[in-house]
């Protein structure tokens, strides 16, 4: 799992007695430390033992609207994200008894029992909602009227699944996962609970994209890649055109260093929830701001202003919007077809000729050497 293998604790060459003592001592230390660090956190968060039932993958039904409802909790994964410290009932608030009635929808904007350390306030995702509501993805327009097809506009769960940490190790070169050696430095002082491990994961996960670029594109494609959605909102197939760019290609080959949707559609350094329409003068994709977006200090900072006129979302079939691309493509396709089909025909005929090499409809005298030479020399005048 990418975690560094355990250090060998003792050498086999050491004398047995020594080895035994050392092993015992280490065992005791680990045992004691383990007692401190490894409080069985599952039990701690799941006081009501919800997983007694919810650990079964088959716990599911089809609801009245024909939707598949799955009530399974993968504990291993649940414990790998920032929500691990939250009790089930912190989000599923209407559940007061066990066994319980069908639970209500979870609201992400409630205050949970955690205290946000910087401001000593109850933690909530409500500020994110505020940003989202000011963005192009809000159901409401600026006047506060409901937009057309309001059900198409996303809420938290349309883009977010239960978050998972993507910790990084910088200890001996950069790699994915937790550096146990790095963590041991934290644990020198912060021994209580899983604090050090959680804090480590929490911070290092945010030093990189919390999701791979490829996954980001897929999230946007859930809506923006749907032809009916594009038609309803009069949008181009931006997913397709993005994938045709070198950015898109690099991402499809697993690069996380190149630009994905969020890198261009969010003002550099702002919350990823603040995507705006290119018509807004403050948008990163507004024609006056594109250059600044491309030339931000992590991307094309060496580029000139003129890079902004590069057309990222080219639709090669749209002659009106992208005439240059359309007609260039026409030319090259024509050239390709002409050259290749000419030779396909010639080669086919040549093969056909070889089947009956000595046959001919019109008989001629075979050429003699002299006539060949004569014929030839006319071109070699100089």
């Amino acid at each position: 799992m990418g975690v560094l293998p355990n250090k060998r604790l003792h050498h086999a060459t050491q004398r047995q007695a020594e080895a035994f003592t050392a092993a015992l001592a280490i065992f005791l230390v680990i045992f004691m430390l383990g007692g401190l660090i490894w409080t069985p956190s599952v039990q701690a968060e799941d006081e009501l033992n919800c997983v007694l039932c919810h650990k079964f993958r088959g716990l599911s039904r089809i609801d009245e609207n024909g939707r598949f409802r799955l009530f399974y909790i993968n504990e291993n994964l649940f414990m790998k994200g920032p929500h691990k410290r939250i009790m089930c009932m912190d989000c599923h608030r209407d559940i007061k008894k066990i066994p319980h009635d069908p639970a209500e929808k979870v609201s992400c904007t409630v205050e949970c029992h955690l205290t946000e350390p910087s401001g000593k306030q109850k933690f909530s995702h409500a500020p994110v909602k505020k940003v989202l509501e000011a963005s192009v993805h809000s159901k409401y327009d600026k006047e506060g009227n409901l937009k057309d097809y309001p059900e198409d506009y996303p809420s938290c769960k349309n883009c977010h699944e239960q978050p998972l940490y993507r910790p990084l190790s910088f200890f001996k070169g950069e790699s994915a996962g937790i550096s146990r050696r790095g963590l041991s430095r934290c644990k020198t002082c912060h021994q209580t609970g899983d604090f050090a491990e959680d804090f480590y994961s929490h911070v290092t996960s945010r030093l990189q994209k919390t999701r791979e670029s490829k996954e980001i594109v897929e999230v946007c494609a859930k809506c923006h890649g749907d032809p009916a959605f594009q038609k309803r909102h009069n949008l181009d197939n931006v997913i397709e055109s993005y994938k045709e760019t070198f950015h898109g290609k690099a991402v499809s080959f697993g690069s996380n260093e190149t630009a994905d949707c969020l890198d261009c559609h969010v003002v550099y350094g702002e919350s990823v929830h603040s995507v705006e329409s290119h018509k807004e003068p403050t948008a990163s994709t507004h024609k006056n701001n594109i250059a600044a977006t491309c030339r931000n200090e992590e991307c094309h900072f060496k580029a000139g202003e003129a890079l902004a006129s590069y057309q990222v979302h080219t639709d090669y079939d749209n002659a009106e919007k992208y005439p240059m691309q359309y007609y260039m493509l026409k030319f090259f396709k024509g050239l390709m077809a002409a050259v290749l089909y000419f030779f396909v025909v010639v080669i086919f005929l040549e093969l056909l000729r070889r089947l009956f090499p000595n046959f001919s409809f019109i008989k001629e005298k075979p050429a003699d050497a002299e006539s060949v030479l004569r014929n030839n020399s006319t071109e070699k005048g100089a």
Binding site: S252, N358, A369
Partner: protein
């Protein structure tokens, strides 16, 4: 040159006819190594969505390495293009212009004539050869075309990269140095260069794989491997088949008129 590479060479009692000098063969090896490398690292990017693209691209080093291999091979190819341009200019001067200077007959007209007389230049005989070829292909003549030292097909093969590289190379360079490029030229030109680069590459790839390889490897008498690109010499049978005019000239020049074989099949 004539001394270094005799026009007719004998090996195991068989005649072989001179085609390409060592330097030319080296240029060709560099050319095709670069083109194959460029293809293997480039086409997975064009067809990123196809099933074969990902494994091939990973094999070529993945997103962190393969693009650099691509750029490296492209740079070598572009350098080869410049070298080759200098190379033919040198040969042109030494073999065709210097004699004119020595004879004191150099004028714009003679220069132009000398230029057109270079063996790679398309000429009237190519036109007549193509007509004869179609006559022969359509069973309207028993006589296959009698190509000179460089047939029209080979000229086409030659000019394909010689036109392709100046299109692909600078376009690739612009996409590579897009940031520096955009200091001087507008970004939308990159859109144009992208199409030029990828479509011209596709044409080259499809052409080389089928047409060129058919001519030199797949054709029944060549299969599985034509060896002239390695040895520089062509066998008598192939010579008769492909360059009959050149064959007769070479035989006549070497005083072997009486041993000239007819251009029949088998």
């Amino acid at each position: 040159m004539q001394n270094k590479y005799p026009r007719i060479n004998y090996r195991n009692g068989k005649r072989f006819f001179f085609r390409f000098s060592l330097l030319q063969r080296i240029q060709h090896v560099i050319l095709f190594s670069c083109v194959i490398t460029l293809g293997l690292t480039g086409f997975p990017q064009r067809y990123y969505n196809e099933e074969w693209a990902k494994p091939l691209f990973t094999f070529m080093g993945g997103i962190d390495v393969a693009p650099w291999i691509h750029r490296g091979a492209g740079s070598v190819l572009l350098a080869l293009f410049f070298f080759h341009t200098g190379y033919w200019m040198f040969l042109f001067f030494r073999n065709r212009i210097k004699p004119l200077i020595e004879q004191r007959t150099l004028s714009p007209v003679t220069f132009f004539k000398a230029f057109l007389a270079m063996e790679m230049m398309p000429n009237g005989k190519d036109g007549r050869d193509i007509i004869q070829m179609f006559k022969w292909l359509l069973y309207l003549s028993p006589k296959p075309p009698q190509y000179d030292r460089i047939s029209w097909k080979e000229k086409f093969d030659y000019f394909a990269p010689y036109w392709g590289i100046p299109i692909l190379g600078p376009a690739g360079m612009a996409l590579w140095f897009r940031d520096e490029f955009s200091q001087v030229l507008p970004g939308w030109l990159l859109n144009a260069f992208y199409i030029m680069h990828t479509d011209e590459a596709l044409l080259a790839g499809l052409f080389l794989f089928f047409v060129h390889w058919y001519n030199v490897h797949y054709a029944p008498e060549k299969f599985p491997l034509g060896t002239v690109f390695l040895t520089g010499y062509l066998s008598e049978a192939d010579m008769i088949h492909e360059h009959y005019a050149e064959y007769i000239e070479a035989m006549t020049e070497s005083g072997l008129e009486h041993e000239i074989k007819p251009q029949g099949h088998h």
